[in-house]
């Protein structure tokens, strides 16, 4: 039962991540990627703080300064860089292409883990990396168009 619960939770997460790019592209007909990033982070932090107060109240209350500094570093990498460029890519490449390319983030995590912590590369990881690169090449050479001529383009 617990296993099925875990799968269900993972599927809900997949739908949440998958819908984000599509909703962002829909919002970008009127609103800039920077504004969408700000609002999505404000809404997200309110919701996740509510969940944190429910499931990890002790940890929220006892968080250390060192942890906060590491979290700040994570925030710099994940939001002004990760999420903002995510939404910029949705605007210019479209939700489907942007999501597919951003999906390579685990490859970067693995690469950094190999480089920084000396983890070993296996044949399976190398094969996976090659498939990802081939996938990106296909997406990059796709000549179909993305509609970006919206209100913002008219203003800028």
């Amino acid at each position: 039962m617990s296993y099925l619960d875990g799968v269900s939770l993972a599927i809900i997460s997949t739908i949440g991540f998958g819908a984000t790019a599509v909703l962002a592209q829909s919002g970008m007909q009127y609103v800039k990627p920077t504004s969408i990033t700000i609002i999505s982070l404000v809404v997200g932090s309110i919701l996740v703080f509510i969940v944190a107060f429910i499931v990890e109240l002790d940890q929220v209350n006892s968080i250390s300064i060192v942890a906060l500094l590491f979290i700040l570093l994570n925030a710099v990498l994940s939001y002004p860089i990760g999420r903002l460029f995510n939404f910029i890519s949705v605007k210019y490449a479209g939700a489907s292409r942007a999501s597919s390319v951003i999906g390579i983030a685990p490859l970067i995590t693995t690469g950094l883990a190999v480089w920084l912590t000396g983890e070993k590369l296996t044949i399976i990881i190398l094969t996976g990396s090659l498939l990802i690169l081939l996938g990106i090449f296909l997406i990059l050479t796709d000549m179909s168009s993305v509609k970006t001529d919206n209100k913002l383009d008219a203003n800028n």
């Binding site: 993972a10 998958g18 790019a21 997200g44 968080i63 939700a95």
Partner: protein, 164 residues
């Protein structure tokens, strides 16, 4: 006649060039984003392994992210508040809700499932984006077999990396 033909050719070639530029900007931005998310995950893993719980770390990270991005781009937000219709903010708010559902449920699933199970399931989210884009925003985002094949290859690659 020749001038008309030249004008037409110029227009077509500049349009193709603009489309290619847009796509290149988009893919470059996506790669920078992946770099941000990918390196952020290393720091994130260090924090949740050594210092605090995953949901707490995510909550504070989102809060810091909101403060940082607001400090950098609040003028854009003010401009959009003044100039955009109120209906434009509905998908924007839902973007935040869906992204936080994604992050929170991913962490919750990791409590019940090993990473080798949860990572490939969650890693399949580009397929969900493609399906939803095809259903709801076909007008904005044209989906081709090439994009679909590329997404499938990326997801297979991510699954292999998660297992390996």
């Amino acid at each position: 006649m020749r001038t008309i033909k030249n004008n037409l050719l110029n227009r077509v070639s500049s349009r193709i060039s603009a489309q290619f530029d847009n796509r290149l900007i988009g893919i470059t931005a996506a790669l920078i984003s992946a770099l941000g998310y990918g390196s952020g995950a290393i720091v994130s893993k260090h924090v949740i392994t050594n210092y605090t719980g995953p949901v707490t770390a995510t909550a504070f990270s989102l809060l810091f992210g909101a403060i940082l991005v607001f400090a950098l781009f609040y003028k854009d937000l003010m401009f959009d508040f003044r100039s955009s219709p109120s209906k434009a903010w509905i998908p924007v708010i839902f973007t935040g809700i869906s992204a936080s559902i994604g992050v929170t449920f991913w962490f919750l699933s990791m409590v019940k499932l090993p990473l080798v199970m949860s990572a490939p399931i969650v890693g399949a989210y580009p397929l969900v984006s493609i399906i939803l884009a095809w259903v709801f925003i076909r007008r904005l985002d044209r989906i081709t077999w090439k994009t679909l094949s590329g997404a499938l290859l990326v997801i297979t690659g991510i699954t292999l990396i998660s297992i390996g």
